[in-house]
């Protein structure tokens, strides 16, 4: 147990765009020829992150590790559904983790999300360079997040990472539910402004 997989981890000091590009090419290798080395590299990078997410959402260690396995199995099984126009690989894996969390931790159903999985959008980008557009979008969202005021960032993290229901966020922070919603709207509004600058 002392040995950990992080020895072979991808370099983390890479600029985010290089890292994102590397993830896209790893996914392409898994999709193209079921490349196990590429799959392992994805596991090494995302497995611990998914585990951290699950722990913060309230899973215990064993449960979190099981969920990592489930999420990575889904990555293997549904790899053809990932297209770079949709967004970053990390975003796709987040949605898989979110769905697993809904089913296993919240004991709810993520079927509605799955029903939409294969659905494409008309092009986002007038110039048709959807992949470039998508990676720029991810970068902008990252910037906008970093620039959020603390009170808004906190609510986003409680919802996305700690999987806290809206009403529980209100209770934990001792603020009205309406304030939780308005901070969410403000945070999302800033993201939208950032993205509009791209068009």
């Amino acid at each position: 147990m002392g040995l950990a997989l992080r020895v072979t981890q991808l370099p983390n000091d890479d600029p985010p765009e290089r890292l994102a590009q590397m993830h896209r090419s790893l996914i392409a290798r898994v999709a193209g020829n079921r490349d196990r080395e590429a799959y392992k590299a994805l596991f090494v990078h995302f497995g611990p992150r998914v585990k951290a997410l699950m722990l913060k959402a309230g899973a215990d260690h064993a449960q979190a590790e099981d969920l990592v396995q489930d999420v990575m199995i889904t990555v293997w099984r549904k790899v053809e559904l990932y297209t770079p126009e949709r967004g970053a690989v990390s975003t796709w894996i987040y949605t898989i983790a979110r769905n697993a969390r809904i089913d296993r931790l919240r004991r709810n159903s993520s079927r509605a999300y799955e029903d939409l999985e294969g659905m494409d959008l008309p092009s986002d980008d007038p110039s048709g360079e959807d992949v470039a557009f998508a990676s720029q979008r991810a970068e902008r969202v990252g910037q906008a997040l970093a620039e959020l005021p603390d009170d808004q960032k906190q609510i986003i993290e409680l919802a996305y990472v700690h999987d806290m229901p809206q009403s529980e966020i209100a209770g934990t922070l001792a603020i009205p539910l309406g304030t939780v919603k308005s901070r969410m709207r403000l945070a999302y509004g800033k993201l939208k402004v950032k993205l509009e600058e791209m068009r």
């Binding site: 497995g47 992150r49 990472v161």
Partner: protein, 223 residues
Amino acid sequence: MNVLYHLDDATVLRYASGDLDEAFSVVVAAHLAMCDQCRRAVRTAEEIGGQLLEAEDTPELPIGDFDRLMQRLDGADGKIKAAEPSVRHAPAGNGGDVPVPLRRFVGPSLDAVSWKVIAPGVRKHAISLSSQSASSLYMLHIAAGKPLPEHGHGGVEMTLILSGAYRDELGRFSPGDIADLDEHVEHQPLVEPGEPCICVVATEAPTRFKGLFSRLLQPLVGI
């Protein structure tokens, strides 16, 4: 589809982070199947999750975990297959006027939904969910020109129009439009003349009707 009424931004974030229970996630997904704009909004909101996942600090995973994963992939009880390419589909689905996320409950065609008359001109189809959901999900079929009973909202309510149209204090709602309302909003939808209005509704808590007649009716209709 020319959608005029969209999801509240807070709902977009709740959907993207997985905070809606089944009744609401089904109505939101059904709206998304009909609305490019909100599908794009959700995609952006999901990008937040990707960024936060990427930024997560990384606890160690036992070295054996990857081997365990590969054993599961190679498991004797059938190899884990890639998703069928047929999963890709057009937003509206192939034929049928029921949005894809509702089909597993009521099938592809609105004509085939079985209705129960609950009041003059008002028919209902209750949907039972696969998980224990505190909220309820049902479809309504309201005759042309008929009002829906006025109701204050005990909690959040979402109504997605599938066919026909209604008008209330907020405006005219036609197919694809969603009324994503706060608990504070009171409204009195009136179905437009000409054709019935079919909608799908998620409610957080039992709706209480305000009129005396409606109040008497409520135990019977269970809206």
